[in-house]
């Protein structure tokens, strides 16, 4: 085999290994193959409090991730948080009277949006709004409530 042939082959192997490493990083290490790939539809929900929820947080039905939070903004009129989320199109039979709540995965885990399916015959569609919402639990409020109720009992 001539010298230049070996040279070409080894450069080919080098480039192939490098591209393969990039692919491994993209597919195996990051979540590029996650819910960004398939078709999705967008729904919004208004919460009194979303503390701890972030864009890209998971949206789950029965604990199974079915979508992602896209953006969180504040409604300038009602001062409620407007959470926009995309749900995978394969879950397109979510009843319109479903309720959403913000829960925590584990004691210190990430916040996620949990959907509790309702019983209405109509399903959520692109641009739909979920009316029934339950806010994020703020630990400080909970503790202060508990403490004040204790001191009230003492009196």
């Amino acid at each position: 085999m001539s010298n230049s042939r070996i040279l070409e082959i080894s450069v080919g192997i080098f480039v192939a290994v490098g591209v393969a490493a990039l692919l491994v990083l993209a597919v195996n290490v990051s979540n590029v193959s996650g819910f960004s790939a398939g078709k999705q539809y967008t729904v919004t929900a208004n919460f009194d409090n979303v503390s701890g929820l972030k864009a890209r947080s998971a949206v789950a039905i029965a604990g199974v991730t079915v979508g992602r939070v896209v953006s969180i903004t504040v409604d300038p009129m009602t001062f409620e948080a407007v959470v926009e989320m995309t749900i995978d199109s394969s879950f397109n039979e979510v009843p319109v009277d479903s309720s959403v709540g913000i829960y925590t995965a584990g004691l210190l885990g990430e916040k996620y949006v949990g959907i509790e399916p309702g019983g209405a015959p109509d399903f959520l569609e692109e641009g739909g709004v979920i009316r029934l919402t339950q806010s994020s639990i703020v630990l400080e409020k909970l503790i202060s409530q508990f403490l004040f109720s204790q001191s009230d009992n003492d009196e």
Partner: protein, 258 residues
Amino acid sequence: MFDWFAQFGNKTIEFFARLGKEVLLFIQTVLAFVPLLLRPALIVQQLFSIGVRSMLLIIVSGFFVGMVLGLQGYNTLVDFGAEESLGVVVALSLVRELGPVVTALLFAGRAGSALTAEIGLMKATEQLSGLEMMAVNPVERILAPRLLAGIISMPLLAAMFSAVGIFGGYLVGVDLLGVDEGAYWSQMQAKVDFDQDIVNGVIKSVVFGIVTTWIAVYEGYTCVPTSEGVSGATTRTVVYSALVVLGLDFLLTALMLE
């Protein structure tokens, strides 16, 4: 007193002259990429000596860096009962920081110094003047293929470093220390973002590739054509590359974290 002022002014002018010369030469070299595309054999040859020859060093170093990250990360995380996050720690630190930076430092030491010495020696033995005599532009023939090969090689090498490092962390964390295998990968996939982390890592490695290769090529091309000049230029290549890479890394990270 006036002497001192004169010297100060002279130094300042010299500095700007050097900067201008460097930028002009850089533009010339980048413009020379276009005719270079007609002669891919030149690039392939440089990819071999710059990329392929650095591959083994990068892969072995990446493996050990990943193993160290696995060990250190595990010992810290296990205190909080969070050893399942080991995959995230290893992957993020490699993809975002260590992959591009350590690869660039090794690349400057392995390929950059060789480039400077090669071009410097060409200059010392008057091969560059020889090329010019034959109406061959040394910028097109010598500098451009090397710079392009360096820019192509760096992101590929950095990706290999990160991928092998994550595998090294997996070996230590999962096989040796008993972190759950599923948690290692699933937490990693949940927390590592493609746009935020991987693309930014690739951007960093491309920038470092441009900077380290350019410093190497420029130092070689402008060195004093004596044996001491070449040795000094080689040292400067490694020192400047290391400093610029670490400084730029801070800047790029600050920009990328919004």
